[in-house]
């Protein structure tokens, strides 16, 4: 017994061994933590990517594959027939170009107007500023769905102080065209404009005042200062807002449905009717098969967004992190 005790004592006294033991313990702890993190991250990435992979793989399924219970993920007889029909009924090239043009032009207006308004709020003092900024927050918080009916009515019988009625004889119906969306965006009330104004406001507030003072001393006018100095400095948040508004505008079906925008301009609206179209025109009645066409169409619709995102994702995520949402 005594010898065992003394051996234990020896082991305890051995500093070298104690060091080793501690290092081992911390190594194992680190490894377990690493494993834990790996499992969680890989798992969650799978949850996010799983359906995307599923859609891509099933868009290549042929009829035989989709009826065969043995086929999982990898089709036995891959076919491009789904893409052929989907792009035919989406009128892909034409719709895509006009859809991208629509989203990009609205994006340009959004960046221009929202940065201007954000700059006005960030740098100038005027009476009622706090109340007005509270209105911007209200715009973010109140969902557009609350005011969809009045908006619909406004644009169904569009008139500015009776001027149009004077010229044309009656108010104009602007629905079923993209004009309402442009009007709303020009007046800073487009899709999620409140959020963009907020982002720009936070960003401009973070810039040092000395920049403008120097410009003022050097004799630059307000507009020159804004366009040539401030806007150039706001590039990171401009990139963030640009991508957000481009992608959300491209994906938006709410306004497109509300203003009855033609689905040859908005591809994400057109995709929602593609199964019905194919079902009637091609006499395909099995919903499981129709779903495959929808999958192919969705892959086609996703392609441009994913390309934009992959190209700009680094600037984008860093922009979100550094430029304002947080403040």
């Amino acid at each position: 017994m005594a010898t065992i005790k003394s051996i234990i004592q020896d082991v305890r006294d051995d500093k070298q061994f104690a060091n080793d033991r501690m290092r081992w313990a911390s190594n194992i702890k680190g490894f377990i933590l690493f494993l834990f993190r790996l499992v969680i991250i890989v798992g969650i990435c799978y949850v996010i990517l799983g359906p995307v992979i599923g859609i891509i793989s099933s868009s290549f399924f042929s009829d035989a594959d989709s009826y065969n219970p043995m086929v999982y993920m990898i089709p036995q007889e891959p076919t491009l027939y789904r893409y052929e029909l989907a792009s035919k009924y989406l009128d892909y090239a034409k719709t895509m170009v006009s859809s991208l043009l629509y989203a990009a032009s609205l994006m340009a207006i959004q960046v221009f107007i929202c940065s201007m308004v954000g700059y006005g709020f960030a740098r100038y003092q005027f009476p009622g500023k706090n109340i007005l900024f509270a209105c911007v927050v209200i715009m973010i918080v109140i969902p557009t769905n609350t005011i969809m009916l009045p908006l619909y009515m406004t644009f169904a019988k569009f008139d500015v102080f009776g001027i149009i009625k004077m010229i044309k004889g009656s108010a104009v119906n602007l629905l079923s065209s993209p004009v309402p969306m442009y009007i709303m965006t020009i007046f800073g009330c487009g899709l999620r404009s409140g959020l963009y104004i907020y982002i720009f406001n936070q960003f401009f507030r973070g810039l040092p005042k000395e920049i403008e003072e120097a410009a003022f001393v050097d004799g630059a006018g307000t507009l020159y200062t804004y366009f040539r100095i401030m806007l150039v400095n706001a590039l990171p948040s401009a990139v963030t807002v640009a991508i957000f508004s481009m992608v959300w505008q491209y994906n938006d079906t709410f306004y497109a449905k509300l203003f009855l925008v033609s689905d040859s301009i908005v591809i994400s609206k057109r995709i929602s009717t593609i199964t019905a179209t194919i079902s009637t025109l091609e006499k395909i009645l099995d919903p499981a098969i129709l779903q495959l066409f929808l999958d192919a169409g969705i892959v086609l619709v996703m392609i441009p967004i994913v390309i934009i995102y992959v190209l700009l994702q680094k600037q984008f995520i860093e922009g979100v992190e550094r430029s304002g949402i947080v403040g």
Partner: protein, 305 residues
């Protein structure tokens, strides 16, 4: 005297310039938002009939629409309570999940950029059609149509279903509402992950704005990782929890069934007054929730600056 006059005119000039900068937005806000909110209230108090040519006439009916919505309408109360209930379940889950993921992703490891890009993907792919198709694909992932029916057969023939686990945890003395809550959380895990892209990014940014010297001090004073989290990290990101809650609540409201019901009531059933009632009531409830939650958190929030 002369100098004072000049200074005043400069500040007045600046205030005018600032006003010009926000003018487009101000016009839009009054024209589209303020006016529309007023019109919504007006619609909700009247019986609206569309006359040919795009115009409409309003007949004032008082609170009839409200009474109808809450007393007689078949589904509104149910849809409203489920939507609000789901929102109340989701908000804390999404907030804590995104905080947890932000802490995990804030460390440096290989492939971090890729992982962040993947986490943000649901925000990019948020189109209605894409989301619907993804939901369907998620169900199909478990093996397509044929195995779905097989699974259903298995579930009905007993085995280890959710009921079994509920009974097991119930007999441990865990309160039932907690089990139901957790089970709900488990079944909605993919919804929660997909809804927390923006929140994760906001929290990552918040974590990066915590000064490193604070962690150094905590380390020197001998705080453990656990203590550091609760005494340093958590208070510092507290203000952003409010931002995230606001974002989550608004987001989940916009995608809830109430909105769909209001849309259908207006554009399929042409009952505009009732639709306005639906929208207004659910907006009021959302705002009430926001005010209560934010007020409660604001009191406990610590502002560093």
């Amino acid at each position: 005297m002369n100098r004072k006059k000049k200074k005043m005119s400069l500040s007045a000039k600046r205030s005018r310039t600032g006003f010009l900068f926000i003018l487009p937005w101000l016009i839009g806000f009054i024209w589209f938002y303020a006016r529309s909110l007023f019109m919504s209230v007006q619609f909700s108090l009247s019986d609206l009939s569309v006359s040919p040519g795009g115009g409409y006439t309003l007949d004032f009916v008082g609170l009839d629409n409200f009474l109808y919505a809450f007393r007689a309408h078949a589904t509104y109360k149910q849809v409203l309570t489920t939507s609000v209930g789901n929102m109340l379940i989701d908000v804390p889950l999404i907030t804590f999940f995104s905080l947890f993921m932000a802490i995990l992703l804030n460390r440096k490891f290989r492939g971090r950029t890729l992982v962040r890009a993947i986490f943000f993907l649901p925000v990019i792919l948020n189109s209605e059609a894409i989301v619907d198709a993804m939901d369907l694909a998620r169900n199909m992932m478990s093996g397509g149509l044929s195995s779905a029916s097989a699974e259903m057969a298995q579930a009905s023939s007993g085995g280890m279903g959710i009921a079994y686990y509920m009974e097991m945890f119930g007999s441990l003395g865990i309160p039932e509402f907690l089990i139901v809550y957790l089970m709900g959380a488990v079944t909605r895990v993919s919804d929660i992950i997909n809804a927390s892209g923006v929140q994760i990014i906001i929290f990552i940014a918040a974590l990066q704005s915590v000064p490193g010297s604070m962690y150094e001090v905590a380390k020197i004073e001998g705080a453990t990782t656990y203590e550091t989290f609760w005494k340093v990290t958590f208070p510092m990101v507290m203000p952003h929890i409010i931002t995230n809650i606001v974002y989550t609540v608004v987001d989940s409201f916009t995608q809830s069934d109430v909105v769909e019901l209001a849309y259908n009531t207006a554009f399929t059933e042409s009952n505009y007054g009732l639709s306005s009632v639906f929208s207004l009531c659910s907006t009021a409830i959302t705002c009430l929730i926001l005010v209560i939650v934010c007020g409660a958190i604001q009191k406990r929030t610590f502002y560093y600056n």
